[in-house]
Amino acid sequence: MRLEGLKKLSDVSWELSTAYKPGMKVPVRIFASEKLLNNMEKEVFEQISNVACLPGIIEYAFCLPDGHTGYGFPIGGTAAFDPRTGIISPGGIGFDINCGMRLMRTSLTAEEVRPRLEKLVDTLFARIPTGVGTGGICSVTRDEFYDLLEQGMQWCLKKGYAVVRDLERTEEHGCMAGAKAGSVSRKAVERGYKQVGSLGSGNHYLEIQVVTPENIHDKKAAEVMGLTVPNQVVVMVHCGSRGFGHQVAQDSIYKFLQAMQQKYHSNIRDRQLACVPFDSPEGQEYFSAMKCAVNMAFVNRQMIMSRVREVFCDIFKRHESELGLEQIYDVTHNTAKLETHTVKGKPRELLLHRKGATRAFGPGMSDIPAEFAGIGQPVIIGGSMETGSYLLTGTKEGGKTFFTTAHGSGRVMGRHQAKKQFDGRELAAGMKKKGIYIRCASYAGLAEEAGAAYKNIDQVVKAAEDAGLSRRVAKLVPLGNIKG
């Protein structure tokens, strides 16, 4: 739909001025093609303009090409706040704190993998807990869980589940400093400590993918990231902080609503947008709890990839080093972070909320691995199980969104409708005919994830590239998939 008051800045950028809604402190900037924009629900604009009303917001409230309705912030929404005068809002991070993507390369080609694809996928499905209410790969005590909340992937390194490169090639090196286990509820711990190393369900998945020559957009960047052989196979995982993170988010929303009413006497425009001053006891407690969930999700993805490595070694009967099972990168797309960016020509510390949005640092920026300094931070944007995903990099021009880009496709069809329209078994059979072998814990859940239920990922990443937010390196086409 086309909104009244929407101003076109370019083919891929649009603005809603502060006149759009009373209380807006900054304009809204939307980065999307006209086609993607016209398909965004009205609720997206209501949500992002609500974000623009929040105290301490800097420059703009941003909506990215995959923007769609969320809780509080839209998914595909980003906003930066002054850490001293601004707020922190769990709705700007999401229930699934540090839902994110991890990509690992292998030295195998599709030709080598295809003959063993079914056995590989079946074994991964048997050995990685997937679906509703499953346990985790890792059996930890509550005390060990408290440790990993504070240490993140450092804990994995100590226990032998990770190598140093895994940490170096993860955002925040796999651990956000300042996570205090005492800031999370007992309920959150109970919901989470048995789920370390589990995939979950919904749109979470583990996918074996191939990089075909015709799908490489930037050969040089692909080579820097270890993609050097035609039809090279990679493995991607998409999951988050499981029940632990969901409970941390839930706890915080209720605490913040109470604080807003009783302590700060602030106006609640949307309860899912509950917020408190970042520089407050409540704000800092949530920030610490959020970091615990961020760290748990990094550990979660590490445990899963560790298991993937074991399975590959078992199936191909070769050592990990021979199989070249190296992590390319791990990105989070639901988090809040303190970062320094240029605002009106001067460096300024900001609290960046990224909700269904991915950090995309450009070439030469600090906090990306030295080997990627020339090309920019790797970015992973997930598509549907039928269409594939993308590997990209950040760009020099990304400062316009504080170096943030899209995270995925976004849904266009409701889950219940997709379940009625598609049959999970038929979908799986159809995908098998096209060469994609899938195992799932629920065929009803699979129907919900049909490709037709999602936006076109090619359009999303093209729009992000045209806007200068990220650059395509390669499209990753699915070969095999496990889902909850």
């Binding site: 679906g131 509703v132 919901r191 979950g200 369900s201 029940g243 409701g414 219940h416 814990a441 009803a444």
Partner: protein, 143 residues
């Protein structure tokens, strides 16, 4: 029909609407609607394990959300699908109190036809009404 799923709400997730004459009945229907997302046939859940819960909240609407969150807690923390056997809700001078007996069993992917995991009960689009005909609610679940 005690509950039905709303296709027109929450494209990214799942929303349900529940209606009942009595408040306890509404709570029961809402719990079943939530469980029904995760396990397709509730009759597959045998009553092997028992739990009791007691909750208190300032309003019946927030009491409902807290009640539904217990289903998610038991699913993740104890790996159980539970269904209400008895629900008693009382209005006090300073709020609303709920006592419930729940019964169910461990989640079993071989016997339970699994649906999709529910992450959270959201406040998004939450509606809770008491009219002459009874009670109704709309709840959006994060998937």
């Amino acid at each position: 029909m005690p509950f039905f799923y709303r296709d027109d709400l929450a494209a990214a997730d799942i929303a349900f609407q529940a209606e009942a004459e009595g408040l306890e009945e509404l709570f029961d229907s809402a719990w079943q609607a939530l469980l029904g997302v995760m396990v397709r046939d509730l009759s597959q859940i045998k009553r092997r394990e028992k739990r009791e819960i007691q909750l208190k909240h300032e309003s019946p609407s927030m009491l409902l959300l807290a009640f539904l969150e217990e289903a998610l807690f038991y699913k993740d923390a104890q790996g159980l699908f539970l269904l209400p056997v008895k629900i008693k809700i009382s209005q006090l001078s300073d709020g609303w109190e709920l006592y419930a007996r729940l019964a169910g069993e461990a989640i079993d992917g071989h016997r339970h036809e699994l649906g999709t995991d529910v992450k959270a009960v959201t406040l998004h689009g939450f509606e809770f009404e008491h009219t002459d005909k009874g009670w109704s609610t709309i709840v959006v679940l994060d998937i």
